[in-house]
């Protein structure tokens, strides 16, 4: 939202509600994962969100806000406790921040039933997009399958015929491969489910080489992906068999740890730091200036979540208690997303463009992502038709 529109909105609201704009800031509760090895995801979501608040000098959409942050430690039970505390003791009407789908499934259905808004900056389990959707739940990131679908479509477009699939043996791993296969139509050279948290992939790589696939698609979030990529390169496979994956294994922080072993890998994403639009340019620049590192997709999602909330705060004069007004303001998604094209579908999940990024080396020698091509325009998700609000 441009400054002028913001100012006009503020002015109109001022006329309607009178001069006594609430002195009390609107509280936003952020339940996120800051400890454990996955802590950097929550850290980036939080930092992206904070950046938006700091740029508004403590305000979102012209309304003063207070951000409460607590660490769920990746545990559903703890996430639930924090949500309860934010709602009961702090009187929060807006929650956000959850990184992992299992935590989201423990928190979201209950709080949205109890009349609290939940804006998801990351987790997008299929249930919340389909049968379990809620009018008070908005996902500003993606439905979990989306990034895998982008990779599937790209691999299919590039005429690969015999792809080897690899994911951890847990629900999100199986969903990932299902998402990939939704758009990939060729043969499957092998489908391997590894132990969650496995660190050594020598055995899998030997089997993979023996299966002679023409491409590899893998979903191994966090440290597992770092291990896999390093070992893949050490086995010399990166020279013969191209690798594809979702952006989760190729965010800027992972690339720093993997280094040149990731070069040439292509990954599906809804965002990249080199996306060419004014909102994104100023976001990436401000994020680098504030934190001294290149933002990840998680940071961009936190930033967008803050601006989405800001747009609804501006439209309602900072009154999330006015649930119908706040909800219809959220549905409009009237903010400048760093992704450019962005709107909500009927199930409150994004309709957005998806890209394939390539991992490249910059002239200065660092390893980073570059947008290669747009795979989907106005892409929705496979579960929207099951949603009845």
């Amino acid at each position: 939202m441009t400054y002028r529109r913001l100012a006009t909105a503020g002015l109109i609201m001022g006329l309607v509600t009178g001069p006594a704009i609430a002195a009390e800031p609107v509280k936003i509760g952020m339940i996120t994962t800051l400890s454990t090895k996955a802590g950097y995801l929550g850290e980036d979501i939080r930092d992206g969100f904070r950046l938006a608040i700091n740029q508004g000098e403590g305000k979102l959409g012209g309304i003063p806000v207070e951000l409460l942050v607590d660490d769920d430690g990746r545990k559903p039970g703890k996430g639930k406790q924090i949500a309860e505390r934010f709602i009961k003791s702090n009187g929060t009407k807006i929650l956000t921040g959850i990184v992992f789908s299992n935590v989201a499934m423990a928190v979201v259905p209950k709080v949205t039933r109890d009349g609290v808004f939940y804006i998801s900056p990351n987790a997008g389990p299929s249930r919340l997009a389909g049968k379990g959707c809620s009018k008070n739940y908005f996902n500003v990131a993606w439905q979990n399958d989306n990034l895998h679908e982008a990779a599937g479509q790209y691999v299919n477009d590039k005429q690969f015929k015999n792809v080897y699939l690899l994911a951890p043996n847990y629900p999100a791993g199986k969903d990932a491969l299902a998402g990939f296969k939704r758009y990939y139509k060729g043969d499957v050279a092998g489908e391997v489910y590894t132990k969650l948290g496995q660190s050594d992939y020598a055995a899998e790589l030997a089997t993979l080489r023996a299966a002679r696939p023409d491409a590899v698609f893998f979903f191994l979030p966090g440290g597992m992906g770092i291990n896999f990529l390093k070992q893949y390169a050490q086995a010399g496979l990166n020279k013969s068999i191209p690798v594809f994956g979702p952006a989760f294994s190729f965010d800027e922080r992972i690339l720093k740890a993997v280094g040149s072993a990731a070069l040439g890998v292509r990954n599906g994403s809804q965002w990249s730091h080199d996306l060419d639009n004014p909102a994104n340019k100023s976001f990436v620049e401000a994020f680098r200036a504030a934190y001294g590192r290149t933002p990840t997709l998680y940071a961009s999602q936190g930033y967008d979540a803050a601006h989405l909330i800001g747009s609804a705060l501006a439209a309602t004069g900072g009154k999330p208690e006015d649930m119908d007004g706040f909800r219809s303001a959220l549905e409009k998604a009237d903010f400048d997303s760093v992704r450019g094209n962005f709107r909500f579908g009927p199930n409150h999940h994004p309709i957005q463009d998806l890209y394939i990024r390539e991992v490249i080396q910059t002239p200065e020698g660092s390893v980073t992502n570059r947008i290669e091509t747009k795979v989907f325009t106005d892409h929705s998700d496979a579960y929207a038709s099951e949603c009845r609000m």
Binding site: T36, K37, G39, Y40, E43, N169, E191, V192, Y193, T194, K195, G197, S199, D200, A202, A203, E204, A206, T207, A210, G222, G223, I226, N227, K230, Q231, Q234, A235, G236, R253, I254, K256, A257, V258, G259, S260
Partner: protein, 304 residues
């Protein structure tokens, strides 16, 4: 056939890694009667120290040289500051204290290095692949890991059977009071043993650095398998640790590779993959259970 051979080498390599970890732990466990859950933290210290120095100097060997004393010093500090107070206590107290140490070390690395996993590369001269058999290229770094493991096994064997220090350590294990009465500084000896164990874990961490993600909490992944190894091998026995580590490495690797295929012979593919993968991750524990039924004190129990 080629694949089976390659997988055997993979199993050997995993076994060697586990041996480096479990040799130190079984020493501490067997000789000092202390349960040390924080052993994985020394592994992490080794990896972090090596990655940091290697990044600053660009030399893997300097990283290795820095990491070994770093892990040993941290180990001896932990022994002197925390564990020394726990020798006479219940095992449960030791578990509690050393579990606390895990949390402490993980948070400390996050404070010092941040949440960003560190980058550590294979040294240039080991970055290629070697054809162990025609048509089966194998990363030379992993072969180097196997070589280091064999060297450590030989070193430990010589240390314990051929040196005065080794003799004192073995004597201290069987009768602490008597050795002390003969004028050996048993307290110092324990600190030394602990430092040696920590250094071996640190060495495992350095070797793992270029293969795995160097990040806070990396030690816990390998720690569980390490405990399995020392229980199978017989607590306190280095020989047992060596045999058990290789056994566990083989069973884990071969299970992961061949179980799904085995189930595919008589089950539909999706189910076979699911059951095979699940059973493969259980295989090591099933092995442990079977061995404990057969030999309740492990394969090579130390005479108590």
């Amino acid at each position: 056939m080629l694949l089976i051979l390659e997988q055997l080498v993979n199993g050997l390599q995993l076994g060697v890694m586990l041996f480096l970890m479990s040799a130190g732990l079984t020493l501490v466990f067997g000789i000092m009667q202390v349960i040390n859950l924080a052993h994985g933290s020394f592994y992490m210290v080794g990896a972090y120290a090596a990655a940091t120095v290697a990044q600053l100097t660009g030399s893997f060997l300097l990283g290795l040289l820095a990491a070994l004393p770093a892990a040993a010093i941290v180990g001896m500090l932990v022994e002197a500051v925390v564990l020394r107070r726990l020798y006479d206590r219940d095992h449960l107290d030791q578990v509690l204290a050393t579990f606390g140490l895990i949390l402490f070390f993980n948070e400390l690395t996050r404070m010092l290095w941040g949440r960003q996993p560190l980058f550590m590369d294979v040294p240039e001269w080991l970055s290629g692949t070697v054809e162990i058999l025609p048509g089966a290229p194998y990363p030379s770094y992993r072969l180097a890991v196997i070589g280091v493991g064999i060297l450590v096994a030989v070193f430990l064997y010589l240390l314990f059977t051929r040196t005065r220090l080794g003799m004192q350590i073995r004597a201290g294990a069987s009768n602490r009071e008597m050795v002390a009465a003969l004028g050996v500084n048993i307290r110092f000896l324990y600190t030394l043993v602990f430092g040696l164990g920590a250094m071996l874990a640190g060495l495992a961490g350095v070797m793992a650095g270029p293969i795995l993600a160097v990040e806070a909490g990396m030690g816990e992944e390998i720690l569980i398998l390490t405990f399995v190894v020392i229980v199978i091998g017989g607590v306190g026995s280095i020989r047992g640790a060596l045999i058990a580590a290789l056994l566990v490495g083989m069973v884990d690797t071969l299970g992961r590779v061949f179980l799904p295929g085995l189930f595919r012979l008589f089950l539909p593919m999706a189910e076979a993959d699911g059951i095979g993968a699940s059973l493969a991750s259980m295989s090591v524990y099933i092995l442990m259970a079977v061995i404990l039924v057969w030999r309740p004190r492990g394969l090579f129990p130390e005479p108590a």
